[in-house]
Amino acid sequence: MSALDQMPAPGRPAMARALAGLMPRAEAVLIPAGALLAGFAIFSLFLGALGKSPAEFFGLVWKAGFSSAFSWQNTLSRVGPLALAALCVALPARLGLVVIGGEGAIVLGGLAAAVTGTVLAGLPGYPAMLLMAVAAMILGGLWIGAIGALRIRRGVNETIASLLMAYIAIALFNHFVEGPFRDPASLNKPSTAPLAETLRVGDMPFIATHWGVVAAALACLLCWVLIDRTTLGFAARIAGDNVRAAQVQGLPVARLVIGFTALGGAFAGLAGFYEVAAVHGSANASLIAGYGYTGILVAFLARHNPLAILPVAILLGGFEASSGLVQRRMDLPDATILVFEGIVFVIILLSEALYGRLRIFTPGYWEHR
């Protein structure tokens, strides 16, 4: 048999050829979507066991997350930090690193933004805000980049290191907010000095939510271009899939790992900047809201594809936005949403085993029909 026999014949139905091109891409959408549905189903069983109605639950999620302008505002306010935190997982993941400590970079980024804002109080708004964002990104980048460096230079497990460093980051954050940078006026809730009005990030026109969503969308787009369109991203994908092959090709694996982890950390730091400059107005304990952890779920659901992160962040943002209403209406603890997220996460991890196993997603299956 010659190589030509293996090529799709030109006369083959266009449908088969289209499917052959489409199905391998569809795998990345259909498997997580199926896993999500399976998660819904199992969570429904869980609700049923508690004697609650799954229909009511999903109805409330719809109502609180997506039904009105108000609920969209509530949802979108969570999309920015969720998507940026997800990038902090997805970028290292493309290099084969499971980094789960984005929370640390978020709180430190927020602290850096708040402190920079206090120091730069005299500067006009935009340059000062830019410097605050840059400070947040640098600190977040250094924090997560250090995890990549520990991995590549010293063989330290990045998952454990990132988790432990998140606790260290939160401890440092508390120390500085309650100590050196505490605003004496904040009595009940230790905070840094409130940012001047000129340094606050405002709301977007028409939608009552801040610019963080747009920044997150741009960050996702940028990451997609980086991974999918540049040679740097291609090299990173090789290293992520098989580091030995990357080394034999002479690719700079260490620099790629440190660069991608640092970039992920920088985006998590940027999430901290928006939380401080747009939402809280100062750095305080409200910043430790768990976006870094939900971001892990977002990234895994999105298969570490930056373009998929945004819609997934909107979906999970809606779920998180509904937790209050679910708690009040259904008399369920607010941790219910965490149970749901946990179930979905386990199923997503299980579904990883399906990739490449289902024949309908291989191009050959369609070309040779």
Partner: protein, 511 residues
């Protein structure tokens, strides 16, 4: 016919009738009928990819034969599962050890039993083991961790394990490939003794004629999946065996060598590095690689070849010495490899040279994806160039793939190897570092890959060929180095190479 189906002591005989195994369109085993009477020592001879492993995997129930029958002790046996083979008393000793290194020999034996209890009464087990060992013709220290045993002792322990498990028909898959010649003779001598005593029947996969003539009773020869000859040892000559094994004309004559000007391309001086265990080191005194030659590095597996490959590819840090390419120090970075047109073909390419979850087209682009217009690395990835490159290479190197977009892991071993070879041999190549390029490939794939290497050599490429297959080294090399205990122990041009001498140096018995 007085063929014994079962000896008194317990050895059992087997017989295959028209055994056939197809993998898709590829026929790995074609109508093979062999008879191994009880208490005999039968050798199964053949090149890599001749179908030896497929045959024994069918016998052991790892594969279900497409057609054919298997008789065990005269009864038809349906090998649906490896457990069936075990229940019938069929056991296999693999090329590489399957012992737990940190456990003692005694512990290894006891845990290997399918009926090992959840709580082990060690005093009783020790007593039983001691009684068992009394009946054995050879001993192995039972109370030492296996990691401290020499290779020969480990192989003896593997055989003891099979006997301890009650298996009376043993398949030995190249049991001496990790042993020195002395160890091999000792182990095979014991195996021979056991067959003569009627304790076991042995089917041994090998490609060493010496082992066949010295130890086996009879031999069956496979070539390209077919049973092409065999008979009683003594009645069939080594020439007849090798002709049956290799086919009509020996491969060597087909690949013409063209003389080209020799220039030094690469030189290793005093290169030192730690080996994989961190306990030993490799030390390469002085090796020069010239253009237009194939420099073969022979050696028994685990004598530092893998580490040498890793040093050359920049995966392993050196502790001293220097590697120069065309006089300039070489650190195996991408830029250096590109400037000097150095390419690599590591062993098991899917594991060491491919990104298994990326597509065939993407894998084929590893060398070119960042090539910019004027020699500078490009920033934007050029998908069209990647697709063009894939089409050219898939056609040029006859890579059989359902589509360039298919994952490379979905290809057969030969096609992965051709794809990687195509990638590494495109454009001008000054030096190619190759390690075991034909491991586990079928006959046709082996042949094309060796042709390509020879063609590259004739075009002036310097090729360093690290291989554990001595026949491959003898066939392709211009000069042969022997690596033993992490050092180059011997050098000879191929014209005056003597297999016996090379073998002695491989085993570390040079002087």
């Amino acid at each position: 016919m007085s063929r014994a189906l079962r000896t008194e002591a317990g050895a059992i005989g087997i017989e295959t009738l028209g055994m056939t195994m197809r993998f898709g369109e590829f026929t790995a085993l074609d109508d093979v009928s062999i008879t191994v009477p009880a208490g005999s020592f039968h050798a199964l001879l053949g090149e890599n990819g001749a179908g030896k492993s497929t045959l024994v995997k069918c016998i052991m129930g790892f594969y279900r034969a497409t057609a054919g029958e298997l008789l065990v002790a005269g009864q038809e046996a349906r090998m649906t599962d490896p457990r069936v083979a075990q229940a019938l008393g069929l056991g296999m000793v693999y090329q590489h050890f399957t012992l737990v290194p940190s456990l003692t020999a005694a512990e290894n034996l006891v845990i290997s039993r399918a009926d090992a209890p959840a709580v082990i009464d060690w005093r009783r087990e020790r007593a039983r083991l001691a009684a068992f060992m009394e009946t054995m013709p050879f001993k192995v220290p039972l109370e030492q961790p296996v990691s401290r045993l020499a290779a020969g002792e480990k192989q003896k322990l593997e055989i003891l394990k099979q006997l301890y498990l009650g298996n009376r028909f043993l398949i030995l898959d190249e049991p001496t490939s990790v042993l020195t010649p002395d160890e091999a003779d000792e182990v095979l001598g014991h195996v021979r003794g056991l067959t003569e005593a009627g304790e076991i029947t042995v089917l041994m996969i090998t490609h060493k004629f010496r082992e066949v003539t010295a130890f086996a009773d009879a031999v069956s020869i496979l070539r390209r999946g077919r049973h092409v000859g065999g008979g009683k040892v003594g009645e069939i000559s080594v020439e007849e065996m090798s002709r049956a094994m290799m086919g009509k004309a020996p491969e060597v004559s087909k690949r013409a060598r063209a003389g080209t000007e020799r220039r030094e391309v690469m030189r290793l001086r005093g290169v030192r590095a730690q080996d994989r265990t961190g306990l030993k080191s490799i030390e390469i005194e002085d090796v020069a690689l010239n253009s237009g030659e194939i420099l073969g590095i022979a050696g028994i597996s685990g004598n530092g070849q893998m580490e040498l490959m890793e040093v050359l590819t920049g995966q392993r840090r050196t502790m001293g010495g220097e590697i120069t390419v065309k006089g300039a120090p070489f650190g195996a970075t991408r830029a250096e490899a590109r400037t000097h047109r150095m390419r690599y073909l590591p062993e098991e390419p899917l594991r060491n040279a491919c990104a298994p979850r990326m597509s065939v087209a993407e894998n084929l682009a590893f060398r070119i994806f960042d090539e910019g217009r004027n020699g500078k690395p490009a920033f934007w990835k050029n998908d069209r160039a990647i697709a063009r490159n894939a089409t050219t290479l898939i056609e040029g190197f006859k890579v059989k793939t359902a589509s360039p977009a298919a994952r490379i892991a979905s290809l057969s071993g030969g096609n992965v190897q051709r794809a990687v070879l195509g990638r590494e041999l495109t454009g001008e190549v000054d030096a190619l570092i190759v390690s075991n390029p034909c491991f586990g490939l079928d006959f046709a794939a082996v042949s094309t890959i060796r042709d390509r290497l020879m063609a590259a050599r004739n075009a002036g490429t310097a090729i360093l060929l690290i291989s554990e297959d001595l026949d491959e080294i003898m066939e392709l090399s211009d000069r042969i180095l022997v690596m033993s205990e992490g050092q180059i122990a011997f050098e000879t041009p191929v014209e005056t190479a003597d297999i016996g001498e090379i073998g002695r140096h491989m085993a570390g018995h040079g002087e």
